[in-house]
Symmetry: C2
Subunit: 200 residues, 2 copies
Amino acid sequence: MNAPSSLEALIEALRCLPGVGPKSAQRMAYHLMQHDRGGAQLLADGLQRALAALRHCQRCNTFTEAEVCGRCLSGKRDASLLCVVETPVDMNMMEQTHAYSGLYYVLMGRVSPLDGIGPGELRLDRLLARACDGVVSEVIIATNYTNEGEATAHYLSEMLKSRGVSVSRIARGVPVGGELEYVDAGTLAQALRERRTLDP
Amino acid sequence: MNAPSSLEALIEALRCLPGVGPKSAQRMAYHLMQHDRGGAQLLADGLQRALAALRHCQRCNTFTEAEVCGRCLSGKRDASLLCVVETPVDMNMMEQTHAYSGLYYVLMGRVSPLDGIGPGELRLDRLLARACDGVVSEVIIATNYTNEGEATAHYLSEMLKSRGVSVSRIARGVPVGGELEYVDAGTLAQALRERRTLDP
């Protein structure tokens, strides 16, 4: 004799969340039904509302409820700079630096052949059209310095350079505040290779 | 400029799940909206259906979609035995032993003064009424051997014994297949204290 079918279905549905296995899903379902029905109702409503409202910005591809997001519509950003990031979270991280005033393009992923995600799945043609609009003068690639992020950066830079677009990549090296003793050898080797000549 | 309000609301709503903090909630929300809208819809539906359908069995207090659950209605169970467990998961664990054919009472929690859960919150009056129905001859307390589970067992046994109900507690000791070398000292001390005389 198993759990009621609506409970089984809820446990199964919770497994669509990343990092949630059968045990966690069971614990979550019992918790919601026993201790937090109000939260469960809010979650159901939140999912429905987000599913109905969220779409991708026609210009930068991030999540928005409008045709074009507020940042792309803002007249205060430098439209000649286009920064390419993997996710909306990465875009937020860039914004929090207060060191960038250009626009963005959010890939919503990365080239990852092992997961079956190639340039076609990422809709890079839309990025290309965006970068070649005649206003953008430099594309700054800010994908992660992981293997997939690096492969994505390489692919993007080749694609953009072949169209005559000027491309740059955010620097890598020892983190600010980082001690050499605690930096991994790969990072240190790159920091050495990509050293900058100091003004005399 | 922040995320769209429906996305913010979804991230906030996901935090009602146990063990999900702000970072996980953000990751879950982006994953669902970008990669698994079908799963998000299933989850919203599953929550709604469970909220509408699930209630507590009038006899054993577990989740059910009917007035009384199938197990309590079954004529094949020994109605003179009542096993008290903390959660429906614990009940499933007991069933998987195939060593018990009596009925259950699910506390849906444990006495935990630090969390503000006392005997009143657990509705122990309903268990008492169930145990004193004239059919039950023995109540087997199968709460966890944690501090809270032990406190709950102590409280329950005092309460039931004062009403003249026969009460027992599942045994504790070295796990089957367990090696003394890897058993903690507390468990071993209890196993020694609660040793059984073997038939000569």
